[in-house]
Symmetry: C2
Subunit: 332 residues, 2 copies
DNA sequence: ACTCCTCATGGAAACGATTCCATCATAGAT
DNA sequence: ATCTATGATGGAATCGTTTCCATGAGGAGT
């Protein structure tokens, strides 16, 4: 008996042990085709005895399809993407599909590299939060990958299925809520790549007859440092603002921190509202009013979409919800 | 030209296009062996023209090694594991290794399933935060996987390399700090699987001559609900306690929430300290005093360890750091 | 009893890459 | 001029699986 630890048993070993051909073993184990009960038994017994597991490598090579899905997110440390990933994993694992993950850091170049790796690995389905303008996706489509975008659509690729949040309604809800409290000087703290939300922000202000001050729209990169710098700059240089809308939890965190550091009292001196409902929003002082986004659902739906590649599927838009806590007050 | 979109180019296509044999193409592209400059050029040009990418499937099947590392964490939504995963990804991506991720939910059964999947996929290196007692790892070792445990060691498997935090020192630091403030009735809010920290807790108390009250040691599962229930139960039923040490950020969050809900003022009524330095610890009111753990380093080191499988490596223990903020005060 | 059909079965090809090995050409040495 | 050493090159085997196809056996229908 040399089955203990040296080499993984192959289908050939099972065939020998069961005294049948490899084709029969394959048929029995995959459930396709016919086999007599006696043979069936023998094969199953041999497979169990040898602790046999079919090699996905061999199978995939033969079948010319890998199964398995790739997942590309900017930053797994951002809880929003953590929850998105969790949703993807929940769906993928219940379907028995392995998931290959990569973090792009919102850098199109790293994204391109990761796409390349996925293609080499013959992964044929990808869920991605695209970086930059999403200009790196040519090779992926040329290679025939099934792609679903999450969180953000890509400007040039409207025909690619995507699962996004209803940015327009979300932003409008936030802006109307703030305007209802009397705020006019509302700042938007955005991440690069949130062009859609910025547009919605302008529209929402315009619809309310509030003039848009471009200097109140500030962009930051996805890092905590950049977010803090942007938030602090905003509060210092545009001190006539009375409310800040943060485009994501990292930006919101930075805003809270900057406000505290610069001695702005929330909500007395400045009202604060952010995208993403995160656990610490309740723990904050004061508790943060947020526009919640269904991050986990988003991941789950994206995974569903990418797994049923059959039907042509359009973009799915998920609703947001305003959760009022204590960080917004009337304009002073 | 049919190279546009239908089928991925194979090495054979490149060989034909360059008018050489497949062996030559392989040699040129992988850099092994010799080839004349002219041939070299022809092959490179053909490969570029056809947008050729070698299939990892074919290569791995032939080479009998997959490369790529598996990563098993309890919950990617927990920022501690998010940072751990980030560290793993940082190392793996810089080494060009794909990463397959799975979440176990701290459930040994799901863990076993995921291990099975990894074996089928011929992944040969795994970094895992083991669930339960880690009794499901037999098949993995039998299959010859290179395993590195992270965060927690597994009782029966001391010879498996692991990257863990210095629980003993971390806990002792926290307990000594609290004792220095006059606290005697110190509770420990632990997750299942933190046996090591519980042991350290008992030892630290004993070393200070403080009697150990077993009822002040409470266990919760890894979910937010379970953590909240445990924290609330602790505060309600053992109201003579004056300080709580939480074994992780989810537990700490639950403690803050429960304290607020039950009208315990922090730190006046109860002092609070938790493992994990997370961004919201500063945002909390009052800011939380924490024992920080180098989660990202942990992941990075684990990845390094699992990639240099060559040398036999022992367990790596990473230091913790006490970060004093405002959630601990003198005993009333 | 002969034919036909179905079912069980195993051999062999294919998937895409690497790598061993044999072949061939050319340059250098005698 | 002949022999040898070296480098370039391609054919073919191999990895583990699935699947096509051929074969053989056995039962049913005439």
């Amino acid at each position: 008996m040399r089955s203990d630890g040296q080499r993984r048993a192959t289908i050939k070993d099972v065939a020998e042990a069961a005294e049948v051909g490899v084709a029969t073993v394959s048929r029995v184990l995959s459930g396709t085709g016919s086999a007599s009960p006696a043979t069936r038994e023998k094969v199953l017994a041999a497979a169990a005895r040898l602790d046999y597991r079919p090699s996905a490598l061999g199978r995939n090579l033969r079948r010319q399809r890998t199964g398995g899905i790739g997942l590309l997110v900017p930053d797994i440390t951002d809880i929003f993407y953590g929850r998105l990933a969790d949703g993807v994993l929940a769906c993928a694992q219940s379907a028995g599909e392995p998931v290959m993950i990569g973090t792009t850091g919102d850098d199109p170049e790293r994204e391109a590299e990761l796409i390349g790796t996925l293609i080499e690995e013959s992964v044929e389905r990808v869920i991605a939060v695209p970086s930059g303008d999403g200009e790196m996706w040519g090779p992926a489509f040329r290679a025939g990958l099934g792609v679903v975008f999450a969180e953000r659509p890509v400007p040039g690729r409207e025909n690619v299925p995507a699962v996004v949040t209803d940015d327009r309604t979300g932003v409008r809800t936030a802006v109307e809520y703030l305007a209802g409290l009397g705020h006019r000087r509302i700042a938007f703290l955005a991440r690069h790549g949130q062009a859609q939300r910025v547009r919605a922000f302008r529209e929402a202000l315009a619809a309310l007859g509030v003039p848009v001050d471009e200097e109140l729209i500030v962009h930051a990169h996805a890092t905590r440092d950049s977010a803090y710098a942007a938030a602090a700059g905003l509060l210092q240089h545009r001190s006539d603002l009375t409310a800040v809308l943060a485009g994501g939890n990292v930006l919101g965190e930075a805003a809270v921190l900057a406000a505290r550091e610069l001695d702005f009292r929330v909500p007395r001196d400045v009202s604060l509202i952010m995208f993403d409902d995160v656990p610490w929003a309740e723990l904050c002082h004061p508790p943060l009013t947020v526009i919640s986004q269904p991050a986990q659902d988003m991941g789950y739906r994206a995974a569903e979409l990418v797994l049923r590649e059959g039907r042509r599927s359009r973009t799915v838009t998920l609703p947001t919800e305003l959760i009022v806590r204590g960080s917004c007050g009337p304009r002073r």
